[in-house]
């Protein structure tokens, strides 16, 4: 796992790591969301993201060998390709959480459209399947963004989150996809004008990453060679 993966596999790992880590962060809300209904909703979204991560890891494992679990849990922290956007710890801040949720889903929609166009039929097929589920995540995110934006307090908190996280959201994508995201955000979130900023690029991990990795892998590391 130490030599760099070929570009197509690296792309799969980026997608898988983003979905795994976002699902991980989403499941931090399980049991402590502002409404019981949101405990249930966020847990459900977390499960879908983890399911997508598993499917991408399985495709990456075709080339790299090993299993989805080994790719998800047994790499060194510096080997993960996740974007800083998904790594940020946002509990218990619901305003920033919804800001990330809506920015991620809008960016992911652009990315999944690319995946659907992949020349690899397995990858393209997975893109189709994922898109059907992500459509519900987008509706959930948009509903919450609109709902918060209806009040002064909610809008203030949401927009502060969007401003802070916008450079991170850009960093999730590459090339002209970034321009598309800027246009989509302006259209879907009319109460927010995306500023021109330097994207926070993938490659560096955020400060909270080390603690996340420690926690995510601690059980596996507690009994090496175990079966779980």
């Amino acid at each position: 796992m130490s030599s760099p993966a070929p570009p197509a596999v690296d792309h799969l790992l980026r997608l898988a790591d983003d979905e795994l880590i976002l699902g991980w962060r989403d499941s931090e809300w399980t049991g402590i969301a502002p409404f019981l209904e949101e405990d249930v909703a966020f847990s459900s979204i977390a499960q879908t993201e983890i399911g997508h991560a598993r499917a991408f890891y399985e495709l990456a494992a075709r080339e790299l060998g090993g299993t989805a679990d080994e790719l998800a849990f047994d790499r060194r922290p510096e080997e993960y390709r996740s974007s800083p956007l998904v790594e940020l710890r946002l509990v218990h801040d619901w305003g920033r959480t919804i800001a990330r949720h809506v920015l991620y889903e809008l960016a992911d929609a652009i990315r999944i459209a690319e995946v659907k166009g992949s020349p690899d039929p397995d990858v393209a097929g997975l893109g189709e399947k994922i898109e059907r589920e992500e459509a519900y995540h987008r509706m959930h995110a948009q509903m919450w963004a609109d709902r918060l934006a209806e009040s002064e307090e909610g809008r203030k908190r949401l927009v502060a989150g969007l401003e802070e996280l916008w450079p991170y959201a850009l960093g999730l994508l590459e090339g002209e996809a970034r321009e598309r995201l800027t246009a989509d955000v302006a259209e879907r979130l009319p109460f927010f004008t995306p500023p021109e900023v330097e994207p926070v690029e993938r490659g560096e991990h955020v400060d909270e990453w080390a603690a996340l990795w420690e926690e995510m892998t601690m059980v596996r590391r507690s009994a090496p060679g175990g079966q779980w």
Partner: protein
């Protein structure tokens, strides 16, 4: 339609009759229902806390999915149960306030720490097994709206037991270290499990049985748990930490070391090892998201 006198009402429920939310009911019956069902809802909600941190540590993608789904079920159960309490006259906000201020109770097992992944397996397998015995008996509860939601809850709990048993099986057939984790977790959880169904008050003296809110006595539930699970635990080569535990073949009853009922009372009245921390955590997360409820409920008004 229920009878309009307390005496006739008692006869109605004791002969298997049920009560709907809109029926007349004695004040004492309503008060006991609220207290009992509220504690059940609180237990589902507080039961989320010892497990949710392990979602983040789950050792495989499959376990992570299963555990998230399990905890999600429990949050969903709390939602369903609180709705029944709401129909009986106590709104969700008041229920949550009483929970975090320590005024109302939740089940003893959720006052204890979860130390390793072994505990996660023991909770999902054995705590949920103990719970489903109580919950199955509630399918016959005299209060029909509660009995109805119990069908869905029991159905989901039965999956949790399978998940828990699978976690335990994987570990006891894994490395010696993993097996040790399971045995240690069982040692930690056995006493709380033996207290789970409550003291040995005879059914006919139990007011909850009198009103047919419960359909079986505490000891009957515990005997059923021992009958169902002691052989399974032993089959895995695990040792149950109670030298007095044995089945009297003549009577078919299990003998065991009498649990410390003072400890149970002490724990459920807010003095368990994790009570303060978990209620504090619940209070803090509720405070941090109060603005969201304010904003959304103001819009709805």
């Amino acid at each position: 339609m229920t009878p309009r006198t307390e005496e006739a009402f008692i006869e109605h429920v004791q002969s298997g009759g049920q009560v709907e939310a809109t029926d007349w009911m004695p004040d004492e019956y309503r008060a006991r229902l609220v207290k009992f069902i509220e504690m059940h809802g609180n237990s589902e909600l507080m039961g989320v806390l010892p497990e949710r941190e392990w979602i983040l540590r789950a050792p495989t993608l499959q376990r992570k999915l299963a555990l998230t789904a399990k905890v999600q079920d429990e949050a969903g159960h709390a939602q369903l149960i609180y709705r029944v309490v709401e129909d009986l006259g106590k709104p969700r906000d008041a229920v949550l306030e009483d929970l975090i201020s320590g005024k109302s109770k939740f089940h003893n097992v959720f006052h204890y720490p979860t130390k390793t992944w072994g505990d996660v397996g023991v909770i999902a397998w054995l705590v949920d097994a103990a719970a489903i015995i109580s919950q199955k008996a509630l399918l016959k509860c005299s209060y029909a709206p509660y009995a109805r939601i119990m069908k869905k809850i029991c159905w989901e709990e039965s999956f949790h037991i399978l998940h828990g048993r699978d976690v335990i099986l994987a570990m006891v057939t894994g490395t010696p270290k993993q097996r040790e984790l399971v045995q240690e977790a069982l040692d930690r959880w056995w006493k709380p499990l033996m207290m789970f169904h409550g003291n040995q008050i005879p059914a006919e003296k139990d007011p909850m049985f009198h009103w047919r809110i419960k359909s079986q006595g505490n000891e009957e539930a515990r005997q059923q748990f021992l009958d169902g699970y002691v052989p399974q635990i032993r089959e895995l080569g695990l040792e149950i930490p109670d030298p007095k535990l044995r089945k009297d073949e003549a009577t078919g009853r299990w003998a065991y070391t009498e649990p410390d009922w003072d400890e149970l009372r002490h724990v459920v009245t807010g003095h368990g090892p994790m009570t303060a921390e978990r209620l504090g955590f619940r209070r803090a997360s509720r405070d941090e998201t109060a603005w969201v409820r304010d904003v959304v409920l103001a819009e709805a008004a």
